[in-house]
């Protein structure tokens, strides 16, 4: 099937009189030469468009005019029956090119047929005319596809037909030119050139907007690392000669951003091998190396590295924080102070948790600016005064404009089971609207599921259905669920075997009636206005995806601070989207952990930041408990940055697929990584236990 044809018409402006010079030739053609062809003042070179698109750089003070000593001439030639361009190259050039534009959109990853009719007189030489497609970026042209290295000489018109397999597509931010390049003295007649695309191109299903053209998604979409990766790849050859350490550092940043710790580890190995003794290493990449070692669990390596790092002139906040956490003896630094002048909230918070003797003055001195200092104080008061503890949390909620304050009911081991909410102001949020389906997967959640469900049923938004599925629990989860069968909003399901939360999500999405979907975890508490607030944000922003944030609490009420000294994080579980979004970008990967991160990162890259609304408020209180997936042995993701090996390998492969595309990293490869790591789960059937409304 022929899907495209570019028949390059010959230049329009050429006359039978010789035009000595270069520039645009009409019809898209141009003639150009290497930047320094050693022209003398005797060589008269014209410039400008010659019609058809041919061009050559303008030489100041010289115009199109004849001169017998000119290094080349170009003219229309009608001496044969067929009209031709004649190019006379009369001296050696680094290159002299006859070029014509090709629309980038025409360059698909596909089989093409190119045909050329030409005549060529001159001595046989190794460096004869070349035919190629050039790619121009930032004014610099390089070979995109070599078609012929050395056209044979021929005194009669010669026809060539050649199939070429273009294995990459044109980029939207580059321009392309078909080109015949001369280097040696020769006389060349061009009669015709055609380029035919013979196939529709290979569709890259990760990149629908470029259907029929393969470009890696990072070159087409706004993934977090897209711009950096594009620049690194495009400049690799240059930068590895001029500033290799910078290139490797930036690539390491990309790998860490993608959470591709296997590649990060290899890059660290490369750095240590090549720059191990270079003082620049610590300053430029010290933190990145440290974070890599922490993430992959190389604790001893991290400790050794920190000792060196902190003995250097410029230890970082990060290295001091990690040193304190790992209890590495290093250069003394005042307690909880950091080199940047900030405070080490992470260790301060942890020390409060472990009942270390944290001075009241230390808190006064180090409490962070902004609303989160209330959370540090809440932690301080947790074991001293429950009233003060609550007061600080409620100060915080008020400071971040949450229209509720919390209270605590009678004592239970898990503080989230005691949380109750009291409105502090009237809600200016919708209570009715489209049906919102809330999906909840429960596995061995007998002790937490009740409060988790109640927090959804107590939402201020009225039109909710809750689909909750017991994922093959060994405990009494199913019994607890049965206590909710009387509520018409609750639909209860059971899985025939444990299959992980994301398989359950995929199932429940097929059962849900709502056009709006969101999720909730079996051990978390949603604030009463969570659904209404997210729905309203979706409407205001006219977006199809919205997410809120959360703060994490240990069972005893201790609030979890992260290494960057903050408490609040985006809450992936709170993601809310229209059914159409899931139909376009779903389903979730069939794994037991991190599939929501993969899904979200993909949305973020393809929908752009503006397409996703984030409510910068904690609308969920999350349990930081031993049963959380991030705390489960073998699947850990801790607050210092450690990532369990099984989690790492899947996340890395999924990230590579995200930036390189399914064409290169197939679904089979991603699932293969998950299976090898033991986190893949075969989807199992689910049955609805409540009366189905289908």
């Amino acid at each position: 099937m022929i899907v495209s044809l570019i028949d390059f018409a010959l230049p329009e402006k050429l006359t039978s009189g010789d035009i000595i010079g270069a520039g645009h030739l009409g019809g898209g053609w141009s003639l150009s030469h290497s930047p320094n062809p050693k022209l003398t003042s005797d060589d008269i070179i014209g410039a400008g468009h010659l019609g058809g698109g041919w061009r050559l750089p303008r030489i100041p003070g010289l115009n199109n005019s004849k001169n017998d000593r000119a290094p080349f001439r170009i003219a229309a030639d009608n001496t044969d029956v067929v009209k031709a361009i004649r190019v006379e190259v009369q001296r050696e050039f680094k290159w002299l090119r006859l070029e014509i534009d090709i629309p980038a959109t025409e360059l698909a990853m596909s089989i093409y047929k190119y045909s050329l009719q030409y005549k060529c007189l001159g001595p046989e030489a190794e460096s004869g005319p070349q035919v190629k497609i050039l790619e121009y970026q930032n004014g610099i042209g390089e070979t995109f596809h070599m078609i012929s290295r050395n056209l044979a000489r021929s005194g009669s018109i010669r026809s060539i037909e050649n199939a070429i397999d273009v294995a990459q597509a044109g980029l939207q931010d580059a321009s392309y030119r078909f080109c015949i390049e001369f280097r040696k003295p020769i006389t060349f007649w061009l009669y015709d050139i055609e380029l035919l695309r013979l196939e529709g191109g290979k569709k890259n299903d990760y990149n629908e907007q470029n259907a029929g053209r393969f470009v890696a998604p990072f070159r087409a979409h706004g993934f977090q690392v897209s711009a950096a990766l594009k620049e690194l790849n495009n400049n690799m050859d240059t930068m590895m000669h001029t500033s290799p350490l910078k290139w490797v550092r930036d690539m390491l940043k990309v790998a860490l951003t993608l959470e591709d710790y296997d590649k990060a580890r290899g890059l660290v190995r490369y750095l240590e091998r090549n720059y191990g003794d270079d003082p620049a290493l610590l300053g430029m990449v010290g933190d990145l190396i440290l974070n890599t070692k922490i993430a992959i669990g190389e604790t001893e390596g991290a400790q050794n590295f920190i000792t060196r790092f902190n003995a250097s002139k410029r230890p970082s906040d990060n290295s001091i924080i990690v040193a304190r956490t790992l209890q590495v003896r290093s250069k003394p630094h005042p307690q909880y102070d950091l080199p940047s002048g900030k405070s080490d909230i992470f260790n301060l918070s942890k020390d409060i948790l472990s009942h270390r003797d944290v001075e009241f003055e230390a808190l006064l001195r180090n409490a962070p600016e902004g609303s989160e200092h209330h959370l540090l104080w809440a932690n301080y008061f947790l074991h001293r005064s429950e009233a003060e503890y609550l007061k600080q949390i409620n100060y915080y909620l008020k400071a971040v404009n949450i229209p509720f304050e919390i209270g605590l009911t009678d004592y239970q081991d898990n503080i989230l089971a005691r949380v109750e909410f009291n409105a502090t102001q009237p809600l200016d949020l919708p209570s009715e609207g489209p049906l919102v389906s809330v999906i909840l997967a429960a596995y061995n959640a007998a002790t937490t599921i009740k409060y988790a469900i109640n927090s959804i049923l107590n939402q201020s938004y009225g039109n909710i259905e809750l689909l909750v599925c017991d994922d093959g629990s060994d405990d009494d989860t199913k019994l607890v669920l049965q206590t909710f069968t009387g509520d018409p909003r609750v639909r209860i399901f059971e899985s025939s075997a444990n299959q992980g939360p994301y398989n359950i999500r995929n199932w429940m999405l097929s059962k849900a009636h709502g056009e709006i979907i969101t999720f909730h975890d079996a051990d978390d508490v949603a604030l009463p206005h969570r659904v209404a607030a997210q729905l309203q944000q979706m409407i205001i922003d006219k977006n199809t995806v919205v997410m809120s944030q959360w703060i994490r609490m240990r069972e005893n009420g201790h609030l979890v601070a992260f290494k960057d000294g903050t408490y609040r994080r985006n809450c992936l579980n709170s993601i809310m989207f229209t059914r159409a979004v899931f139909e376009e970008y779903g389903p979730y990967r069939e794994v037991v952990c991190a599939a929501d991160s993969e899904f979200y990162e993909m949305l973020r890259g393809k929908m752009t930041q503006k397409g996703i609304s984030i409510i910068p408020q904690p609308l969920v209180l999350g349990l930081w408990g031993a049963n959380s997936l991030t705390r489960t042995s073998g699947l850990e993701a801790d607050e210092l940055g450690f990532r369990a090996a099984s989690r790492r390998s899947y996340i890395a492969m999924a990230a590579r697929q995200r930036v390189l595309g399914k064409h290169i990293v197939t679904d089979k490869m991603v699932l293969g990584a998950a299976k090898k790591a033991g986190i893949y789960r075969e989807p199992q059937a689910v049955t609805e236990l409540t009366e189905s409304k289908d």
Binding site: H145, S148, N150, A167, A216, N233, M240, G266
Partner: protein
Amino acid sequence: MLVANVATYPGRYGTRRKALESIARQVDMLNIALNEYSKIPDDLLGLQNANFVFPEENLKDVGKFMFDVKKDDDVFLCDDDIIYPNDYVSWMRKVATGIQIPGFVLGLHGVTYSDYYDGRKRSGRLVHVFHHALASDEHVNQLGTGTVYTKGKNLPTLAQMHGSEGFVDIRFARLMFERDIPQICIARPAQWLKEVQNDQTLYLTVTSNLPTNALQEVQVFGGLNNLYT
């Protein structure tokens, strides 16, 4: 024994003799895979130490892997469009004695890929072209199999190379990587080796930059992260 392996085909008639002579005179045996031939072409008849083999199918550049070699043989993988200097074999062997890494492959055309390589030819690759100068030895992801020197024990089998026609360098590199055999691109002056120009347009052929399966193989071994294990 000093052995060189090369593959050729009719399209190289007229341009290959000089190239093959340049390596033949430096080795004990020059193994030549004659793709698309049923008899020895006349331009190769005078090569005294040549061992000609006619592949049953057109193996293209994989043909250079069809020969049996002994584990201790010094094997040079060559191309029929490169002029090898007179000291090529002796110099490569001399360099090998100075390298302190057990089990390695040496070469002159080296490629190191970006850690996220998307198949673009002019992007995401650091290429040490064989006829350009290189100041010092460099670990690379991939050596061009037209300029490789190694021991026979390291040479992949024909079965291992099967299906890599058009991207033998990539398959070879992947196999070396999987066996933890470092690939080192050695220092040399510019134009130590020279390329013979050929007209690729004489034949209706399909040339590919990089097929998908080759690109996927690059992902296995490519990137600076894979240079040192």
